[in-house]
């Protein structure tokens, strides 16, 4: 079994990671600075509300962030590879994702995917690039629940509410 480090954060915290164990973080509210140096790992983060700043040096990180409210995400890459996937469902709360990756060497990918249920959504997947030693890409999608999909599931004997829940579950299963 892969060894994992776990953190539950409320307030401000700096995390320095220099071994390649996967990281699990639950950010209730606050600011977290994560410094990666010469590591290769997966980071799983759940955010209620807060700011995440990643600083990568000679590292390769796959970050998956489940967001439930407002998130400010920032990643600075130096000779590194970052693949960040931020997702959420706007059912009970509106979701704001203000993301930015900055870099001059390496590879960066920022994906923001939200299932719009009934609360407003704001997506900002910004990329700031210096020079031509870097490749970056981003994707932002605000999915909707189409009426015809609900109707199809209802035709199989489910109620409207149950149909919506099934669609939400299938969205969660994508990650």
């Amino acid at each position: 079994m892969v060894e994992q480090d776990k953190y539950v954060i409320e307030g401000n915290k700096d995390i320095i990671i220099n071994n390649s164990r996967d990281v699990n973080i639950y950010l209730k509210k606050g600011n977290v600075n994560i410094f990666y140096e010469n590591v290769k790992l997966n980071a799983n983060i759940v955010v209620d509300e807060g700011v995440i700043k990643e600083h990568l040096r000679n590292s390769s990180i796959n970050t998956k962030i489940r967001v439930k409210g407002n998130l400010k995400y920032f990643s600075n890459i130096e000779n590194s590879k970052v693949n960040t996937h931020i997702w959420g469902i706007s059912k009970h709360k509106s979701i704001n994702i203000d993301g930015l990756i900055i870099g001059n060497k390496g590879y960066g990918k920022l994906v923001e995917e939200i299932l719009f249920v009934n609360k407003p959504v704001f997506l900002r997947p910004a990329l700031e690039i210096y020079g031509n030693n870097i490749q970056m890409e981003h994707k932002a999608i605000s999915y909707i629940i189409e009426e015809k999909t609900i109707q199809y599931i209802m035709s199989r004997g489910f109620s409207r509410e149950e149909s919506v829940e099934i669609i939400i579950d299938s969205f969660i299963n994508m990650f």
Binding site: L123, R124, A126, I129, Y130, G131, N133, Q135, H138, K139
Partner: protein, 423 residues
């Protein structure tokens, strides 16, 4: 200095035979601009001085790189002199001969000031309603010297593209002011070309364009701008589209700073934007601010090449509650040098559970695998890059008229070569 500018404005106004209301408006706008000029990072002192020192340029003063570009484009000597601003002295719109044909169709196509004088009813209804007042809009209001008023009546389809070319030939800046209205069921293709062939320090081009597209109207706006490296292009534009279709194709080449971010208000409409930008030692700020009032469909494709320059793509999308529709946005940029800078900054705000938004972007150098493959077939690197660029830009280029495709392709070829792109 202020008195001199006022005298200059009075002079323009007198030359155009403008009513006193318009002159008063210009003077008021100047006052407002002077209060707000610090909002923009631009040396207006130098710029104002340049208004009063019209300077005749000689062939020897033209930078060597421009002469080389003309040579590579295969332009004859006399034409080179004309394009370099030696043989023309005044700013003017060059209206096409087809104007007569348009008149038969009931299309009103005249200068802004003539429109103001003759079509007061329409002007009162539409003028200065769309753009939020800012320093540049006041400056344009005070100093505008060219511009068009276009009105396409109900259900009139104008099959011939309407082509306007703004030539800047005095050694100072120019301020086009346009008002375009398409009434219900009308169709129009409007091609706008801008070129500034003189080489004063820090020229300024600041257009103010208001466009209204009504029910079932179709509007295609092709905007090709090719500037010299001393040119500041700071435009204000806004479109109000109600149940209409709008297609915007923009090509930006050269200049020192280009800032072109139109405000677009959509109500049950379709919007299609295609952009190409070539940035070479300059700053390119493109994108759009789109407000979806009601159900609409949006498709945006922006491609840019960046060489020793800055490219910023700003997109603000604000979707109102209960809007239905889809938005597909794609912005790609290719970095050709290690000192380039690119910022892709989409801000997508969705308030509707029936509006789907998708945005994708890719930034980096050309795909080395593809490049090596082409090189292995005996194609040199510059040409291989050119072929890859054309492959990427293909969808946008085919929307242009044939002569513009040729010009753009030549400019891309020059841009990728040693000389670099230049206006």
């Amino acid at each position: 200095m202020i008195e001199k500018i006022k005298a200059y404005i009075k002079n323009i106004s007198k030359k155009n035979n403008e009513p006193k209301t318009l002159l008063d408006e210009r003077l008021r706008a100047l006052e407002e601009f002077l209060k707000r000029k610090n909002e923009i990072n631009f040396n207006f002192e130098n710029f104002f001085e340049s208004l009063f020192i019209p300077k005749k340029i000689t062939w020897d003063e033209i930078p060597e790189e421009i002469k080389n570009t003309y040579k590579e484009l295969g332009i004859s000597n006399s034409e080179q002199a004309y394009l370099s601003g030696i043989s023309l002295e005044y700013n003017e719109n060059i209206f096409n001969k087809v104007k007569e044909i348009f008149k038969k169709k009931g299309l009103i196509f005249t200068s802004y000031v003539e429109g103001y004088k003759k079509y007061e009813n329409i002007f009162n209804k539409y003028r200065n309603k769309l753009i939020k007042p800012n320093a540049l809009s006041y400056l344009n209001n005070a100093l505008f010297n060219v511009g068009n008023f276009i009105y396409v009546p109900k259900n009139k389809k104008i099959n011939i593209p309407l082509q306007v070319f703004f030539l800047l030939t005095n050694p100072f800046s120019h301020f086009p002011r346009n008002l375009i209205i398409l009434d219900e069921g009308a169709e129009l293709t409007y091609i706008e070309g801008c070129i500034a062939p003189t080489f004063m320090k820090e020229n300024l081009h600041s257009a103010y364009t208001e466009i209204y597209v009504h029910k079932n109207a179709k509007f295609k706006w092709i905007n090709v701008q090719n500037w010299h490296k001393n040119m500041y292009v700071l435009d204000n534009a806004a479109l109000d589209v109600e149940n209409g279709n709008v297609k915007i194709i923009t090509i930006n080449v050269g200049s020192k700073i280009v800032k072109k971010i139109p405000n677009i208000y959509l109500n049950n409409s379709n919007l299609h934007i295609n952009e190409i930008g070539l940035s070479d030692k300059n700053e390119l700020r493109t994108g759009a601010r789109i407000y979806v009032k009601n159900s609409s469909n949006i498709h945006i494709e922006s491609k840019s090449l960046i060489k020793h320059g800055k490219s910023v793509f700003e997109l603000k999308l604000d979707v109102n509650k209960n809007s239905k529709g889809k938005a597909f946005i794609e912005c790609d940029s290719y970095m050709l040098s290690s000192d380039g800078y690119s910022l892709s900054d989409p801000q997508l705000k969705n308030n509707s559970n029936e509006f789907f938004i998708s945005h994708e972007s890719l930034t980096g150098d050309f795909d080395t695998e593809k490049l090596e493959y082409l090189k292995s077939r005996g194609i040199d690197e510059t040409h291989a890059k050119f072929l890859l660029t054309i492959g990427e830009f293909d969808d946008i280029l085919k929307e242009l008229p044939l002569d513009y495709i040729n010009e753009t392709m030549k400019l891309i070829q020059l841009y990728l070569g040693d000389n670099g792109g230049t206006g």
